[in-house]
């Protein structure tokens, strides 16, 4: 039994939360929401616990894929149920199961209508996202990638704000458009390699023109998800309208799906195209970093501000990818994790305020620190982490990416470093207007400080942000071997010796 468990760790990580979601849904009773909440918490906790062995059993020296398992799923198309995870995927899987647990706790009394459906959506989504991070067969990956849209669509649409329908349909259609083009690329690769195994795609040589088309098909899918400028416009809408839990999962995990997929698909499958298009990719990343930061500066809505800040921070991730050096890539991965914690925490902070005042507008607040001192301490801490204060995780990733950039081109680093100024400007300005100054109105005067549940969540995240900031080796040790492996992959040209017939 124990052996069985250790050989199917990833399957457990995927299917346990899905099963828990189905159980929560099936045993739902609108009159007993507390029973549903405890059941969901139990499911979330178990789902988190089964992902822990992925860390403890991980072989740090191995840069390849571990925990592999699989069987033939649809022989007619040679599609396999093939899972595996490397140093890139494991931290993200842990982040996913952890965030889901946080979201379940954060929703405790906040969600009052249709509790079971809410909890089930997040549990199922968690399993599907872990599936995305661990699938090694393109179609299996695609199924998880697309299926994940369904619960997210419902979460934003059912529990979201006043303009939720527009936001959720936009979110769905943007992502669907991108992913269908990716599907065409998958089919193209399948017709040429005879399988949907990602490893076979890696080995398939393609001339540059074809590689560019394949890369662009992937690019559309992943750039929408990350999101990169100029296809980012769905994100502010979705974040503003989503309930707190939806925003947390979107920012902390869903955006990482795009980043992860760049490294898993686009760059190793079409490495020559990736090198060829590097100037464009870096330009888009820098635009995201600088321009979107300026956009964030003028936002009046706190969630929108954090959403734009997310886009700007994800710009660092894509910049790190396309530097093609060790420190840049590793920095990008650390940045993904760090952003997962910090953005989750920031959205939870906004959620704390929103639950009390029912407004996300900055101007509705002022002097919150006077009535909620503990909360203000947390909020200021996370704001500092968001601006990249040394000692917090926000600093590590950005610093590594800037170091990587300066090795390639001084001006890349110069422009990227602007974020340290702009990031501080928009975050701290918001903090100043919301938390400091005189108590702005009666609503703020009547605020109660954090309850135990909220304190617990924010304290956990604060510890993690600090831990990752002080001791990033916990992650980099894990990613080191994988990053080297990925970089050797990216460096190998896949141009065929001679052009195949018909091209």
């Amino acid at each position: 039994m124990q052996n069985y468990f250790y050989h199917h760790l990833l399957s457990f990580a995927i299917w346990l939360p899905v099963l828990a979601g189905v159980v929560v849904l099936a045993s739902a009773n609108e009159n007993k929401p507390n029973a549903t909440r405890w059941l969901a918490l139990l499911g979330g906790l178990l789902s988190f616990l089964v992902t822990i062995p992925l860390y403890t059993q991980f072989n740090f020296a191995d840069g390849g894929l571990q925990f592999q398992e699989g069987f033939s799923w649809i022989p007619a198309f040679n599609i396999n149920y093939h899972l595996g995870a490397d140093g890139l995927a494991v931290p993200l899987i842990l982040l996913t199961s952890f965030t889901t647990l946080i979201v379940i706790i954060a929703a405790w009394e906040v969600i009052e209508k249709r509790v079971a459906q809410y909890m089930a959506c997040f549990l199922i989504m968690s399993g599907l996202m872990i599936g995305v991070f661990s699938a090694l067969d393109a179609i299996l990956y695609y199924v998880f990638w697309e299926a994940m849209l369904i619960p997210m669509f419902l979460v934003i649409g059912i529990w979201g704000g006043p303009n939720r329908v527009y936001a959720t349909v936009k979110f769905f259609l943007y992502t669907l458009l991108g992913s269908l083009l990716m599907l065409v690329a998958f089919i193209y690769l399948y017709l040429n390699t005879g399988s949907f195994e990602i490893a076979d795609f890696y080995r398939f040589p393609m001339p540059l023109q074809v590689q560019i088309l394949v890369f662009l098909a992937f690019f559309v899918a992943f750039a929408v998800k990350i999101p990169m400028w100029p296809v980012h416009t769905w994100l502010p809408d979705a974040h503003v309208e989503a309930p707190t839990g939806g925003s947390v999962v979107l920012a902390a995990i869903a955006l990482k799906l795009g980043g992860y997929s760049f490294l898993r698909f686009a760059m190793p499958i079409a490495p020559d195209a990736a090198h060829h298009l590097t100037p464009y990719m870096i330009s888009l990343s820098l635009i995201a970093i600088v321009y979107i930061a300026l956009v964030a500066l003028v936002q009046k809505d706190m969630k929108k501000l954090i959403a734009y800040s997310s886009i700007s921070h994800m710009g660092f991730v894509t910049l790190g990818f396309f530097l093609f050096n060790n420190i840049g890539l590793e920095g990008a991965i650390v940045q993904m994790l760090s952003h997962g914690f910090i953005s989750a925490a920031m959205f939870l902070c906004v959620g704390v305020l929103y639950d009390r005042v029912h407004s996300r507008q900055i101007e509705a607040y002022g002097g919150v620190a006077n009535t909620m001192p503990v909360f203000a301490a947390f909020a200021v801490f996370f704001a500092m982490a968001n601006t990249g204060l040394p000692g917090t995780s926000g600093f590590v990733g950005e610093f590594m990416v800037i170091l990587g950039a300066i090795q390639i081109n001084f001006w890349y680093a110069f422009l990227a470093a602007f974020t340290l100024i702009f990031g501080a400007a928009y975050t701290l300005w918001m903090v100043k207007r919301v938390f400091y100054g005189a108590v702005a109105n009666d609503q703020v005067a009547a605020l109660n400080d954090l309850n135990k549940r909220e304190f617990f969540i924010l304290a956990t995240l604060a510890v993690l942000v600090l831990a990752l900031g002080v001791y990033p080796q916990a992650v980099t040790d894990m990613t080191n071997a994988t990053v080297n492996e990925l970089l050797t992959h990216f460096a190998q040209s896949k141009l065929p010796a001679s052009l195949p017939a018909g091209l």
């Binding site: 695609y142 769905f172 269908l180 065409v184």
Partner: protein, 482 residues
């Protein structure tokens, strides 16, 4: 004597359906309205018996009867079994609806069985004459069914429209067939193929005949530019009849296309590929874009059908073995989806209320989370979102088209699928994000609920494990076409 017996045994399922349709018609005269459940049970038993004989006689080998005009091969058996299943679902879903509207009469069941017989003959047709006879039997039964709700002006109008356009299409088809007959000297599909294979130069009349045949088929399939009747007939017919028109006959039409174009006229593949391509692209374009503007759910599903047919044509136009297999997979998936979709509309209707407006679905999640969830699966399946069956259907036809080299057409289809997703999402939005307008409790007999649940969950379960259905389609097509 021996041949006649052999012929009759080969066509045993057809004979059962034929006899029972007449028995039902007669029994209905002598039975009191209160005991009409007997008729219903007889109709269901007929399907069961026919299914038993179709299944027990199935073999990978091919047997022909009636001097080669009738064929019993794997494709015919598989498609017939699907038809029985679909018709049985139709009977279950429509019973309460018919009772509420005074249409729960023997005629309905007899006419549906006659149309089923027509479809079975089409599926087994090996001569142009058999195919045509089957098609006409199907069409005439459907015209009568559409007009069954006599006092309903909309239904009568729909029936009229359907009849006039349908007769025109039959005429075209027959005209085309006569040209093919004239050029090849045979009605038998295999002989036509042989005559064309002999290497003689293909005369222009042959191409002209092909154009007429394809146009007639396109009308029956509801492909653009012969789609005009589809939305009006879907909307005007009683929902129980729409359920029939939109589902099972597509299986027969598919078989018709395979028999006519692939078995008889493969030598003209280059010509019909182009025609199918144009129809496929237009169907996907017009179907998806027009569906967005609809407020009537039945009309919306009609346009959605047109776009699904476009996807089926993507598989057929590839003119490869895989293309035909995947087109069949698509048709079967489509039938399962459309049955569940209309099944839910029927479930929500009650006396004096049709539940055929999009707004009637508002807040379904609050009225009945289970049925909202079933409709959610149906909609995502139609949109082609994994892990539902509709995803594999789209995925496989697109793969066939890509393998045949139509890369930009595939990209086009994909873009249209995104537009299509929009109106399916709108249905989900209405069910999940809006407050209910209608607070009546949903009343439906237990068997309807169970079968509907089974039908919709099948879309999810087969979506997770599509291998079995795919194997069946591979078996049907490869053993019939090789």
């Amino acid at each position: 004597m021996e041949t006649i017996r052999y012929d009759l045994i080969t066509a045993l399922p057809e004979l059962i359906v034929l006899c029972m349709a007449m028995v039902i018609l007669l029994t209905d005269l002598f039975i009191s309205p209160a005991r009409r459940m007997v008729i219903y049970s007889m109709a269901q038993l007929t399907l069961l018996a026919a299914a038993y004989f179709s299944f027990s006689s199935h073999a990978p080998s091919v047997s022909t009867a009636f001097s080669g005009a009738f064929i019993d091969d794997a494709m015919a058996d598989v498609l017939k079994l699907m038809m029985y299943l679909g018709t049985s679902f139709i009977f279950v879903y429509s019973r309460q609806y018919l009772q509420h509207r005074g249409m729960f009469r023997g005629e309905f069941y007899a006419l549906v069985l006659f149309s089923l017989l027509g479809m079975m003959v089409m599926v087994s047709g090996q001569s142009m004459l058999t195919l045509y006879v089957g098609l006409e039997l199907l069409s005439l039964s459907l015209y009568a069914l559409v007009a069954m709700d006599r006092d309903n002006a909309k239904a009568t109008e729909a029936a009229m429209k359907y009849f006039v356009l349908g007769a025109l299409a039959s005429g075209m088809l027959l005209y085309g067939m006569s040209m093919v007959y004239g050029m090849t000297g045979s009605l038998n599909l295999a002989e036509i193929n042989l005559a064309l294979m002999s290497g003689a130069k293909i005369h222009a009349v042959m191409i002209l005949g092909l154009v007429f045949i394809v146009a007639g088929l396109a009308f029956k399939l509801g492909a653009v530019p012969f789609q005009m009747w589809v939305p009006d007939v879907y909307e005007g017919s009683p929902t129980a009849v729409t359920l029939l028109i939109s589902s099972v006959p597509k299986l027969a039409a598919f078989a018709f296309v395979i028999r006519m174009l692939v078995q008889a006229l493969p030598t003209l593949a280059v010509d019909w590929q182009q025609m199918l391509m144009i129809m496929a692209v237009l169907s996907i374009l017009i179907g998806n874009i027009t569906a967005i503007a609809q407020t009537n759910l039945k009309r919306m599903l009609a346009y959605s059908t047109i776009s699904h047919i476009g996807f089926v044509l993507y598989g057929l136009m590839s003119a490869t073995m895989n293309g035909f297999i995947f087109a069949m997979f698509y048709v079967v998936s489509y039938v399962l989806m459309t049955l569940a979709g209309f099944g839910i509309i029927l479930l929500l209707s009650r006396p004096g209320f049709e539940a055929d407006k999009l707004d009637d679905l508002k807040g379904l999640n609050q009225r009945s989370p289970w049925h909202a969830f079933l409709m959610l699966i149906v909609m995502f399946s139609m949109a082609g979102v994994p892990p539902t069956l509709g995803f594999y259907a789209k995925f496989s036809v697109l793969q066939a088209a890509l393998a045949a080299g139509y890369i930009w057409l595939v990209v086009f289809a994909v873009l249209m699928a995104v537009i299509g997703a929009f109106y399916y999402l709108r249905v989900i939005k209405l069910m999940y994000f809006d407050a209910p307008l209608d607070t009546h409790a949903i009343t439906a007999p237990m068997d309807t609920r169970v079968v509907l649940g089974f039908n919709a969950m099948a879309l999810l379960v087969i979506g997770l494990m599509p291998e079995k259905l795919m194997e069946i389609c591979i078996y049907a097509i490869t053993s019939s076409l090789s």
